[in-house]
């Protein structure tokens, strides 16, 4: 039998199974497990509020690994994820001469990817909202993600990952991602949960919720979502908040049949709210 240097753990496909607090669809679990098995980044897209970002937290928790987060901003550069070189600090130190500036390593700080590549155990890296970055941002990461290795130009050092990290990338499709980047990813689109999956998600958060209230709340929620005229459709997280409010205020399932109390928890855009209170939005059913 040949030994492989990259993975010490015994091969097993079904590594990620969701966690107690995160309900993953079969599709999502498969995509995560494929990405882990073939050691490619997993690119996750989906409507806001479908749990793209928390997914990485739960993968890390499910696998018992540490999570390193890298929230991408419009000013982020690909190299920041590997390391940053604090030139200004070094310049300053050189000027005032109160530190030893000959050792460049003192001014190198590893980013989340750099940390994962140099770590002695496997990590989960979340590259959150990659589409917020510059158009070239994903392309600049290609080589490092392919090789799982990087060099520090300033010191000439080179690091290769001992344990290829599990890389989760989320995108809100604000920008289109480049093809070469997409080719290397496993892709999954998180669909908006169907009512039965939604019921499970709710149960995880509110185990004591009565069947009647659950059924009525889910029905009202999906009716509201089906209204095409809405500027912003309510998401899962808003539904969960809303149910929290209903419980705290002791609203009955019966009352839900007549109206949607605390509709402001679900509708966040002013025109939507006004249209609803003015009776312009008619719910089916």
């Amino acid at each position: 039998m040949t030994t492989r240097k990259t993975s010490a753990e015994p091969p097993a496909f079904d590594r990620f199974r969701g966690t107690e607090r995160y309900v993953a669809s079969r599709e999502l679990r498969d995509a995560v497990n494929v990405a882990i098995a073939i050691e490619r980044p997993l690119l996750v897209k989906g409507e806001p509020g479908t749990g793209k970002t928390v997914l990485a937290e739960h993968i890390a928790e499910g696998l018992g690994l540490e999570l390193l987060k890298w929230p991408v901003k419009s000013t982020s550069k690909a190299v920041d994820g590997l390391y940053t070189y604090d030139t200004v600090q070094r310049l300053n130190d050189a000027r005032f001469g109160d530190h030893d500036v000959s050792d460049i390593r003192r001014y190198i700080r590893l980013g989340p990817l750099g940390t994962a590549f140099t770590a002695s155990e496997r990590k989960v890296v979340l590259i959150d909202e990659i589409d917020k970055g510059d158009i070239e941002f994903p392309n600049d990461l290609l080589q490092e993600l392919d090789d799982m290795a990087f060099g520090i130009v300033e010191t000439g050092e080179r690091f290769t990952a001992k344990h290829r990290p599990v890389v989760i990338i989320t995108s809100n499709s604000e920008k289109e991602l480049p093809d070469p980047f997409l080719r290397r990813c496993v892709f999954h689109y998180i669909e908006f949960p169907a009512p039965d999956l939604m019921a499970e998600i709710i149960k995880v958060h509110y185990p004591d919720l009565s069947e009647a209230l659950m059924a009525q709340a889910v029905a009202r929620f999906y009716a509201l979502r089906s209204v095409d005229a809405l500027r912003k459709k309510p998401s899962t997280s808003e539904l969960l908040d809303w149910i929290g409010v209903l419980l705290r205020c002791g609203v009955s399932a019966d009352a839900l049949r007549r109206e949607i109390p605390f509709v402001g928890t679900l509708l966040k855009k002013d025109p939507d709210l006004r249209a609803y209170t003015a009776g312009a939005i008619r719910l089916p059913g």
Partner: protein, 392 residues
Amino acid sequence: MDGGNLLVEFFFGLRARGVPASLHEFTTLLGAMRRGLHFSDMETFYRLARSLLVKDVAQYDAYDQVFAHLFRGVDLPPGIPEEIAAWLENPLPRRELPAELIARLRRLGLDGLLEEFEKRLREQRERHDGGDRWIGTGGTSPFGHGGYHPEGIRVGGAGGGRSAIKVAAERRFRNYRADRTLDVRQIQVALRKLRVLHRHGARDELDLDATIDRTCREGGEIDLVWRAPRRNRLRVLLLLDSGGSMDPFADLVDRLFSAACSMRHFKALDHYYFHNCVYENLYADMWRSRAIPTAKVLAEHDADWRVILVGDASMAPSELLAKWGAIDYRHANDTPGIVWLDRVARHFRKAVWLNPTDESEWRYGTGAAIRRIFPMFRLTVEGIEQAAGAMR
């Protein structure tokens, strides 16, 4: 047909349907299947192949259609068609593509694709000393398949039961197709393509490279260099048709409008309305109660503004071509609408027309005439993206 052919057929079926699956991705799929990641199960194969070959939810529907079409009748539970399974058993040389695939590529004249793939393979080999991991399995034993263990696991949804073909045949992703008309967020995403970045404004960004350079030249005396940040400088002028024939599309135009307004992406966004065609007046409101001379609007917006006209471009020929032709009989226009449209087109460097109706509607008649003045695109995700491309 043997199994290899079926998979190759699948690959080309996807490409024919506009799913840009590459050979790179196809070999990744073959590699994953060789490792048994499809668990000899059609449903798992459906998800595995989708996650590796399709990278855009807009193409999920095309994937479903190809899948349902190709694998119809082979969905005999439990599992993957025997011919595919048998084909996968054949240990293919790691770096070679199936012969069927190569023959098919040549027949279709897609040799270029093959060359590019081989080039990439060579590059990878050089870079990694032959040790790249993205095709082969490198001696991993196939993962045992024995289903998953239900203890402590939360599997969402009903799960199981439904066959992959049925799932595909449901075409749940129909609504995500790019050629469908769209919601506010999709429009915003499409409009984001419309941007031109320039360094502009106050010099408040430290130019580190120049600072270091200058500081070195000054012999270590720190000399900070500042520059202006990059910003999108595009200004957009929306001209919206509020005529009666646009009523069926009022919702759609409203969505486009609210998408454009809520974007902080443009440097400026102005909008006016017109009725069927642009004449000497534009209107500040949808009910056309506040008229503003078109000449004034042109004077206030220089040639750099990008103009998007939205309308069905459908009217009586006289409304477009004749003096006094405006639909509103109180409105005496001494200049035909087409002249005004032409003036708008000449005034601005880039202007496009978005049309909510089907392309067949503007092949003839006034639509065709207006199309000669403005590049015309459909009011869909694809159309807006093309329009944005034309206006950059």
